[in-house]
Amino acid sequence: MSMLESAAAPVARGKIEWLPVAIFAVLALAPIACAYGAETYWLGLFTSVMVFAIAAIAVDLLCGFGGLVTFGHAAFVGIGAYAVAIFGAEGITDMAITLPAALAVSAIFAYLTGTICLRTKNVYFIMITLAFGQMAYFVAGSLAPYGGDDGISVKTRSTLFGYAIFDNDRAFYYCVFAFLLASYLLCRALIGSRFGRVFRGARDNPTRMATIGFDVFRYQRVAYVIAGCLGGLAGFLLANATEFVSPAYMSWQRSGELIIMVLFGGLGTLHGAILGAASYILLESVLGGVTENWKLIFGPMLVLIVLFARGGLIGLFGAIKRKLSHD
């Protein structure tokens, strides 16, 4: 799997990394710029960038740092989204209930499926995560009271202790921003922590890790649960962003898109996942406006980036920076 080599060594300590700072600065200021254009459209677009960035960070945690290529992560996004929709249909819209529920169900699903998936390796792991993803997809499609295959609309956005903090698009945007920032910082801390070091070591050489005394499987399962919860969080936010939920959220194409975002942005960097999500979604909207077959343009771009800039966009930036400082 040389294609899935991470660009970067683990997060460097001590010095400020400007790229993540810049990314979050741009995201923090984006609503101001949006006010000069079609505000609702652009604000919505950037909101979904950040929502998918959370899911992509989860995928990067597993793929980029743990070597666990998950092809079913959209299932968690779907679970989070359905938690909002199903509670909503039953008249419960407060996130004090729906968000913990979304996270709990994601965690349980991750724990159970992880227990099975993590017994396998490499391509088998990919296949079995895909299989569980498809299972979730079909279960969602069979939820007749909640729209079945057609999906179900979310009538009201989530409230917090009765306050409609998501109703204003800008306020919602900054809530999603805060969730993204928190997810990013959490994963960053995690990767450098004792736990993260064991998790990363397990990717390098699971046999060595076992023979120095680590039960690799348990650490991987904890990471899988954390990544599952992040996926659930993204789904919770996605349902609020789109005010609609359908089984399509869980399709394998969606899982594939998350991997593509991470590869495009740069595997094993976390902020690369944010860049990847932004590139994918913005290109989809820009190129999608030009031609329906925008993937015909995006596909070759992805191949070129993966082939020639091993570390995705982040790797490309690094290469350009090195070139400039050499000259």
Binding site: L190, R200, R208
Partner: protein, 250 residues
């Protein structure tokens, strides 16, 4: 009688029809260095794999300090004080030499379910890791990515990882394999210094090293212990000479 550090009772392992470990019984006492020699394919690595837990025996028993560990997974055996090196270098290529060793220290000092705080800056872990690197004269290369170390340095790193585990029993699978004469000598020197601190099982083809280091030698041929005893007795054993040593010593 005191319990030996390692006791193996009638261990058997077959891959299909191939009997690779055929009724091996042996004991290693505290501080003893026990060498296992034998021709290629004799089943030496397979024996070490079964002791360290990466391979399940077909039958027989393995006891570490009197406790039956036959059914334990490798990580639990490590926690009981069993460390090993691999014939084919087994390190973490994307980590620095220091972090390779620090992880071994981390495994036996406190919980690793800590999700915040930088592990790489825990000086308690780093200090002990550095001490182990110093023992194998690798302290000057602590910050180097393990993948970038020379072959000999990687072998030394494996040894440092094992030392950092503060083992009760150390299994060494051809620690000098593929190293030049100078590096071999260095490793022999390290092992000589370590001798007596803990029990060791050494598998090695370099007979000079084996006879310089071993307190006892067992000769393994076709998965069977052909002879076992003090180095001089083994060297003089005619059966051993014909089966194995003859070609190696001439």
């Amino acid at each position: 009688m005191t319990e030996p550090v390692l006791r193996i009772e009638d261990l058997r392992k077959n891959f299909g029809g191939l009997q690779v470990t055929d009724g091996v019984s042996l004991e290693i006492g505290a501080g003893e260095l026990h060498a296992v020699i034998g021709p290629n394919g004799a089943g030496k690595t397979t024996l070490i794999n079964q002791i360290s837990g990466t391979l399940e025996p077909s039958s027989g028993k393995i006891l570490l300090n009197g406790a039956d560990i036959t059914a334990l997974p490798p990580n639990k055996r490590a926690a009981l004080g069993l460390a090993r090196s691999f014939q084919i270098t087994s390190i973490l290529p994307r980590f620095s030499a220091l972090e390779n060793v620090a992880l071994a220290v981390q495994a036996r000092s406190g919980s690793s379910y800590k999700f915040i705080g930088s592990a790489a800056s825990e000086s308690a872990l780093n200090d002990q890791a550095m001490a182990a690197l110093t023992e194998v004269s690798l302290d000057g290369r602590a910050g180097v990515l393990a993948a970038h170390l020379s072959h000999g340095e990687k072998r030394a790193l494996e040894l440092a990882i094992a030392l950092a585990m503060q083992p009760k029993l150390l299994l060494l699978d051809e620690p000098m394999a593929g190293t030049g004469p100078e590096e071999s000598e260095r490793i022999v020197g390290v092992l000589q210094r370590l001798k007596g601190r803990f029990a060791m099982l050494l598998v090695e083809h370099d007979m000079n090293a084996v006879f310089a280091l071993a307190d006892r030698i067992s000769v393994l041929v076709y998965g069977r212990v052909l002879a076992s005893g003090a180095p001089d007795a083994v060297r003089a054993d005619p059966a051993v000479t014909t089966a194995y040593l003859g070609e190696e010593l001439e």
